[in-house]
């Protein structure tokens, strides 16, 4: 069943190759200046030649990121009246006041008084869809991740909201006791070993300069790599032809560890997000990005 969510196939490899071909081939010799991406620029200085080549590939893709298509759909979903209450999400409070989207993602997860819990973006969006639009809880969290056959409204909304924090500095607060608690739980989860492979998040993400095949495995216990990793999600995955959220990244890491499925918007999921987001504090948010 994993395969339906992360389909395989040679087509994606072809897609990745031709995407580059189109971008370069049609644009001709005059490749437009890519959007400045501070994270990518910083990483481009890596001394590892393989990493430098991967960075070049990312830069070539950066202009014309199809994530724009998700942002546009998300903006429409945010503003459109939907649900049994025929309401838009424009009154949704993401932590900076009703309807304030700008910069909101850089301060999430955070404690919300009305629900008396710490919420990340996705769980907050579910709250808004239930409270404002009248969807049931199950309807609201039904399709967290999209596939070609089934587009996810949630991922589009996430693209729209996160895009409005581009350029904001990550500042996740731990001032409320419940925020502190979530961080502590998330930290524990990060280092907890289990499953048939006796794995933890830390198995792959607590060492410097390692890769799996060509993918960096950022050391998420250190500030700089943690910032670089967290601030680059969501991202359009060329190999999948889909925009993927940070929650998808966690979901797929759990699958790769052969852990039980991470329940979308659950307390555990929010706690782990809090741990990783807080570790990225001070980083400049620069997503939706594009990845191979």
């Amino acid at each position: 069943m994993y395969r339906t969510k992360t389909p395989t196939s040679a087509k994606w490899l072809t897609a990745a190759a031709t995407f580059g071909l189109i971008a370069v081939g049609v644009a001709g010799a005059q490749v437009p200046a890519a959007k400045a991406a501070p994270a990518a620029v910083a990483a481009a200085k890596s001394s590892d030649p393989t990493v430098r080549e991967i960075e070049k590939y990312r830069e070539a893709l950066a202009d014309g990121n199809p994530a724009d298509l998700w942002e546009a759909r998300g903006e429409d979903l945010w503003k459109r009246k939907r649900g049994p209450k025929n309401a838009s999400l424009e009154k949704c409070d993401l932590g900076l006041g009703e309807g304030v989207v700008k910069g909101a993602y850089a301060k999430l997860p955070r404690y919300f008084e009305d629900t008396d819990r710490v919420q990340d973006l996705e769980s907050r969006l579910v709250t808004c869809m239930v409270m404002l639009q009248g969807f049931s809880y199950d309807q609201a969290k039904r399709a967290p991740f999209g596939s070609p056959e089934n587009k996810s409204d949630m991922e589009a909304l996430v693209a729209y909201v996160t895009a409005n924090s581009r350029g904001s500095r990550m500042s996740v607060s731990l001032s409320h006791p419940k925020e502190k608690e979530a961080y502590a739980i998330g930290k524990k989860m990060f280092f907890h070993r289990g499953g048939p492979h006796d794995f933890s998040c830390a198995t792959c993400h607590a060492q410097d300069n390692i890769r799996i095949r060509l993918q960096d495995l950022p050391n998420l216990t250190k500030q700089e790599p943690a910032q670089r990793a967290y601030t680059s999600w969501p991202a359009y995955r060329v190999s999948q032809g889909e925009l993927r959220s940070f929650q998808w990244r966690l979901f797929d890491c759990f699958r790769q560890q052969r852990f039980p499925e991470l329940d979308f918007t659950s307390e555990g999921s929010v706690a782990l997000t809090t741990f990783l987001a807080r570790n990225a504090n001070g980083g400049i948010f620069n997503a939706p990005a594009i990845k191979r």
Partner: protein, 103 residues
């Protein structure tokens, strides 16, 4: 109905630089679904761009073009404020037209 394109058109010197993102599955017809059945080919076949009534780009595409294709091209003879209109047609006959004002 297909999702809208994202079109940006900007003056770059005396040329217009146009960047278009299209939302399309671009199925090659070579892929099989979970049940082993071939997923039918479904891709954009022709793309045209016009400005002030003149065709500035005309392209015929095939299944080798990626999903959600990005197209970038330059042309001369237009100025800021003019409109660029882009249309694609796929092999099912579905069509989408969007436009952008040159900035």
């Amino acid at each position: 109905m297909a999702d809208p394109m994202r079109i940006r058109a900007q003056m770059a010197g005396n040329m217009v630089e146009v960047r278009v993102l299209m939302a399309h599955e671009m199925e090659t017809g070579q892929r099989r679904d979970a049940a082993g059945k071939t997923v039918p080919a479904w891709f954009i076949q022709s793309v045209t761009a016009t400005c002030n009534g003149k065709t500035v780009l005309s392209a015929q595409w095939g299944p080798a073009v990626s999903k959600n294709p990005f197209l970038s091209f330059r042309f001369s003879g237009a100025k800021a404020g003019d409109k660029v209109i882009v249309t694609w047609t796929d092999n099912k006959g579905d069509k989408r037209t969007d436009e952008a004002v040159i900035s």
